[in-house]
């Protein structure tokens, strides 16, 4: 994985420890995940160990260490979604795409994440594909929605 984007990205920061999370977020915004090559470069920049970076990055659920799919599917498993069948929906996505949460499909089309709450509780259950939120979801609407994304 090339790290060409990093010098420019890091130039916006002062090199203080408190900037670690914003930097990781910026890297993930740029290329979709946190590759080893990036961690190797960030550590000397912030004068902290790679271990410390992995310690922080793995603590927070937002960061991923493998390349994402072209489209991100987030199935909401907040309480309101749970009582309205969110879990069944999550399993249906897994079955349909043959991937477990945290994985990407072989063709790189989708990746799947379970999230705690998207904050659209009154319209539960919901799933999010990229920036689109689908409310009052059902297992049978899944197929047609996934078909919209290439």
């Amino acid at each position: 994985m090339s790290t060409e984007y990093l010098p420019k990205l890091l130039s916006g920061y002062a090199g203080e420890e408190g900037e670690l999370i914003p930097i990781l977020q910026a890297v993930q915004r740029e290329i979709g995940y946190i590759p080893e090559a990036a961690v190797t470069r960030i550590a000397p920049f912030l004068r902290i160990s790679e271990n410390q970076i992995y310690g922080v990055a793995s603590f927070y659920s937002q960061f991923r260490f493998t390349a994402p799919g072209r489209h991100a599917i987030k199935v909401c498993l907040g309480t309101a979604c749970h009582v309205r069948g969110g879990q069944i929906l999550a399993e249906a996505v897994s079955r349909e795409l043959d991937i477990a949460p945290g994985e990407a499909t072989r063709d790189g089309r989708f990746d799947l994440q379970r999230v705690a709450c998207l904050g659209c509780c009154a319209l539960a259950p919901v799933i999010q594909v990229d920036d689109d939120i689908y409310s009052r979801m059902t297992v049978i609407r899944l197929k047609e929605i996934l078909a919209k994304y290439e």
């Binding site: 309480t79 309101a80 709450c117 319209l123």
Partner: protein, 635 residues
């Protein structure tokens, strides 16, 4: 005349211009929830229809008024006429309404859901008042006063609604005066614990330090709660004005908004609001010429529930793993970078401008002596009218769930207050007043304001398992009782929902729960067992049914239920056959189908598609295996 008065006059002129406009104004509720319901498609249809018919109108994207069950909402105000609201608007419905009202002057009274009028009982063209709807009438909107009424991306509209007047009053009263006013108002922290706001401030103000920090906690982590998101999306300046007032009171020079990355629209609106404040001299050096310097940075959370806890949140801003530390010292004395720090919740801050604008005496008229003012709640789950509400503290659960929420379709079973840290209360608590003390006495907590309503189709054992599974995964791992104890509790609950529970498991759960509560450092561990302990207390028979009869009365727990075809109802339409992923359902067309329980994976697809079929209706049912009597002839 100072420059702030100039700004306000300018804003008022702009607002009056908007009110006296010669073009119609179309308001579209475009907060996250409105968008999820399809508001952006409605917006596109509106723009198209205007263009096709050569009509001119001003389109304003507003925040959430609250009744999410009516989303997407569209309002139209013709010049000199009040705003008329239309609910559940689809792109097609939007076209019909626009053509009727804008071209023919017919507001379609039967289609409209209400109009925005000032007086009770008033009507307009046969349309009744929006705020006379049963969901809205019992509410008191103080924090949410602007949500859905102003364009959240336009600071002038906030100023025209007396925005930043509270700040101006604060400057007049001086820091001690502000603390005294908030003390008299009786405001308690809205993040969950209900600690008196003024007390925290007083400690921080007196604490010595090189710098002081003001942090807005917008890490709304409770699953099932979205009050803070709606407020920031609908009225960001109210929260930011509150931050300025709090920072001025404690003597802070820098502030942070710590907000969940899952709320992208709220973050965008905050950024725009901060830029506008800077332009208007409301942020930076010498704010409003009063010698007060303050700036605000946005910090995006990275997904960790425990960061809602003050000391964990501070660790996260410092770039560390978000793990809580022991208190004292409290953050008010030694917080961010070791300096005195105040962390207030979004809603607490959103309340402050109102208190400073209207005075403590005005605020005191709402609520109870121990719990003053109003509280926002996200009313969700199996309730008919779901949405965001704001009510005076002290209102009963019955009033909230039935008068405002319209009750449940199937019989009411329980309400969960306070999210994963709260408790599950049964119907005998419906007349409980919602205030800090009463909820704690019942074994629950106020929490940040999530109200999850459950009906008889919700299994409380499954809900307890769900919450504990959530907190167990979010436990930072520092304290052994929380890390290991919660894990063990989840395993016991899982075995109960699988029908493998033993009677002594209930005692184990009780003992473990009490140990985790006592042996944990932070609020996460101290409250995590609440959903289990309250359900054990109020719904013990349901646990016993799972344990002894292997029966899930709500027909939820997968290992204890089965899907059946009701022969008398099945028309043999084959739609279920086509959606079944495992080929468990077979049968020729026009004859009742067969469902092979050995192949069935209980994915719900057949049940859903059958429900949508108007002819057959509920020909596929889900029932508990433990149920002895069959209601319908089945195959």
């Amino acid at each position: 005349m100072n420059s702030f008065d100039n700004l306000r006059q300018q804003a008022h002129r702009k607002w009056e211009h908007l009110a006296a406009r010669s073009n119609p104004v179309i308001y579209i509720g475009a907060a996250s929830c409105g968008r999820a319901a399809g508001a952006m498609d409605v917006l596109a249809a509106v723009q198209e229809t205007l263009k096709e018919n050569s009509l001119t109108a001003e389109i304003v994207q507003v925040g959430c008024i609250g009744p999410c069950y009516l989303e997407p909402l569209m309002d139209i105000a013709l010049p000199g006429k009040p705003r008329v609201s239309y609910a559940n608007v689809s792109p097609d419905k939007a076209r019909i309404i626009l053509k009727a009202y804008l071209l023919r002057g017919d507001p379609l009274p039967k289609t409209a859901v209400g109009f925005i009028g000032d007086h009770d009982g008033e009507t307009f063209e046969g349309i009744s008042r929006f705020f006379d709807l049963p969901m809205l009438k019992p509410q008191v909107r103080i924090v949410l006063r602007n949500c859905g009424f102003i364009d959240p991306e336009d600071i002038d509209q906030y100023l025209a609604k007396d925005g930043y007047v509270g700040l101006q009053n604060a400057f007049r009263k001086g820091p001690e005066g502000v603390i005294a006013e908030v003390k008299e108002a009786g405001l308690r922290g809205r993040g969950g614990a209900g600690f008196p706001t003024f007390k925290k401030w007083e400690i921080c103000r007196k604490a010595p330090g090189d710098a002081k920090y003001m942090i807005c906690n917008a890490d709304e982590g409770d699953p099932g709660a979205f009050m803070n998101r709606s407020l920031i999306e609908g009225d960001p300046h109210a929260v930011l004005e509150g931050m300025l007032i709090a920072a001025y009171a404690i003597g802070a020079t820098h502030g942070y908004v710590y907000i969940r990355a899952e709320y992208p629209l709220a973050i965008v609106r905050l950024r725009k609001a901060l830029a506008q404040m800077r332009d208007y001299g409301l942020l930076g050096r010498n704010i409003l010429g009063c010698g007060f310097d303050f700036d605000i940075t946005i910090k995006e959370g990275a997904g960790a529930f425990v960061c809602g806890e003050e000391t964990a949140l501070i660790a996260s801003i410092e770039g560390k793993r978000g793990m809580p530390r022991s208190r004292p010292p409290f953050p008010a004395i030694a917080g961010l970078h070791g300096q005195p720090t105040i962390i207030n919740n979004v809603e607490t801050l959103g309340t402050l401008p109102n208190i400073m604008r209207n005075g403590a005496a005005w605020y005191q008229q709402y609520g109870t002596p121990g719990s003053r003012g109003t509280k926002t709640f996200s009313l969700v789950g199996k309730v008919r009218r779901a949405g965001l509400i704001e009510v005076p503290l002290g209102m009963t659960l019955r009033q909230i769930i039935f008068d405002i929420g319209g009750g449940t379709r199937k019989p009411f079973k329980a309400v969960q207050t306070g999210g994963p840290s709260g408790g599950c209360l049964s119907s005998e608590f419906l007349d409980l007043a919602v205030d800090y003390e009463s909820l704690t006495a019942a074994g629950s907590i106020m929490g940040s304001g999530g109200l999850i309503i459950m009906d008889e189709d919700t299994c409380v054992v499954d809900v307890a398992r769900y919450f504990l599974d959530f907190t167990q995964k979010e436990s930072c791992g520092k304290c052994t009782p929380c890390r290991v104890g919660s894990r063990h509790m989840v395993e016991i609950l899982e075995s109960i929902t699988r029908g493998e529970g033993q009677p002594e498991d209930l005692i184990k759960l009780q003992v473990l729960g009490e140990t985790v509560k006592r042996g944990s450092l932070c609020g996460l561990g101290q409250t995590a067992p609440n959903p289990v302990l309250t359900t054990l207390r109020y719904f013990r028979p349901e646990y016993l049914m799972h344990v002894t009869d292997k029966h899930c009365p709500a027909a939820v727990c997968r290992e204890l239920i089965e899907y059946r075809v009701v022969v008398g109802k099945c028309t043999g339409c084959q739609r279920c056959v086509s959606v079944c992923p495992t080929g468990a359902i077979t049968g020729p067309r026009s004859e009742p189908h067969n469902l092979n329980p050995d192949k069935c994976i209980k994915c719900r697809a057949c049940y859903e598609i059958c429900r949508f079929d108007a002819i057959a209706g509920d020909a596929i049912i889900i029932r508990s295996r433990g149920r002895i009597v069959d209601e319908q002839p089945e195959r």
